[in-house]
């Protein structure tokens, strides 16, 4: 464990949203280090800034001040090509609303990131099918998102996130639009992927089911880090609700 390196480092990040008359300070100086290969949950009530922090880590939005380092590279310094490369190869994204491309089939959705990465169509299709099998949707490759249930769509999204074997998976409320048991399935799937492939999973959530699988929980409150708990500090009882208070 002592050898593990920080894959993500967030330094003094703030984010303001200018709403015209008022400026909303959503993040008020976040410092954070995330070790490679861990399963991290960013927890906090709605409006606490966890999704905003998630977007900053993923390079999907720019911080007002402060820096985000991925593999010790400041992502604000990257040009458009390098940023696209980072999003394509290094990070896999999973969203609350699945965000699959509606006109494409499950397999095509999984293979787009591979196409961007320059992998040939045949290899991409082969790998895509293997990923679909892995997430338990073997026979559904030719189905469009509208022909799949919410849980199945999220499985496709998980497979898509894994397409280019990224080192980080960012999941923003991955279970937010799913029912209890489907949500649990997705969490298990993410945990398994994290264990099998050594991927760092960072998920912004307020789903307490996540606590059971997290190596570390980062509590955000009102734009600041409230506390960081390691797995053994978490007081998980039935339902895992105790540490919520």
């Amino acid at each position: 464990m002592s050898e593990s390196k920080n894959i993500v480092r967030v330094s003094e990040v703030t984010k303001d949203f200018d709403l015209g008359k008022i400026v909303v300070k959503v993040l008020k100086g976040i410092n954070l280090q995330i070790e490679a290969g861990k399963y991290i949950s960013i927890m906090g009530p709605s409006g606490s800034g966890k999704s905003t922090l998630f977007n900053m880590i993923g390079g999907l939005d720019k911080p007002t001040s402060g820096k985000v380092f991925i593999d010790e590279v400041d992502i604000a310094q990257l040009d458009a090509y390098e940023l696209a490369w980072l999003r394509c190869r290094k990070i896999g994204y999973i969203f609350q609303t699945f965000n699959l491309i509606p006109v494409m089939t499950a397999l095509e959705n999984i293979t787009i990131p591979m196409t961007f990465a320059g992998i040939s169509a045949d290899d991409a299709a082969k790998r895509g099918m293997a990923l679909l099998d892995q997430v338990g949707l073997g026979g559904r490759h030719s189905h469009r998102p509208s022909e799949l249930s919410g849980g199945q769509q999220q499985r496709v999204a998980v497979a898509r996130a894994l397409a280019n074997s990224p080192s980080i998976i960012l999941a923003d409320e991955p279970t937010g639009n799913l029912d209890l048991s489907t949500g649990e399935d997705i969490i298990k799937l993410l945990k398994n992927m994290s264990l099998e492939r050594g991927v760092t999973v960072i998920s912004a959530t307020h789903d307490y089911k996540m606590l059971n699988v997290s190596d570390q929980v980062i509590w955000i409150r009102d734009g600041r880090i409230d506390k960081i708990q390691e797995r053994d500090e978490l007081d998980i009882r039935t339902g895992g609700l105790e540490s919520a208070q």
């Binding site: 720019k62 696209a84 490369w85 394509c88 965000n99 509606p102 006109v103 196409t115 961007f116």
Partner: protein, 216 residues
Amino acid sequence: MSRLVALPLSKSLQMAYQSIRVRFFRSLVTTMSLVLAVAFLTFIQTGNDMASGLLHSGEPTMERNLSKAGYDINPETHVIESSAKQRWIVFLSLLTCVVGIINAQLMSVTERFREIGTLKCLGALDRFIVRIFVIEATLQGVTGGFAGALLGGGVGVLSTLIKFGLSSFAFIPWSTIGLTMFYAMCIGTVLSLVGVLYPAIVASRMQPVEAMRVEQ
């Protein structure tokens, strides 16, 4: 340069085509407005072309008939003049064309902001997105423009034939009408591109999160 992201042209063509095919009815609505605008433009122009053809037929009664039908003929040069009224009509038809097409394309891009944001998250460069939309708009522009030119030209020729009798068939200036249809088709395609370029560029330059946040 190992840090490259790529989208082969064949793949972007396939994506554009697929998007039109799967969203067929939505594309049809966009294309229909293009068809109608181009048809209107072609119809007006074809009417003029036909009148010129008839005027040059040499039939003595024709000049009077054309005047009666509302065409302005210069009494000295015996040429159909593009009067202020004429120019106004062409201008209006162009305006309808521009507004109709740009509106339709703007709507169809705005509907897909989330998709654009998602593609950017997956590693698409700004120009991949613009390219996909440009290919789509070109396909729609050419098809819609062609259909519109045929429709407008056809109706234009037919209405003149009905007005001036079947005998005028011999004086139809086919090549001029063909050229008119070709121009109208080009105008339709260019406008379709203009309509799609602006929102596509704006969307592709957004941070992915902003694009995905836009209300659908």
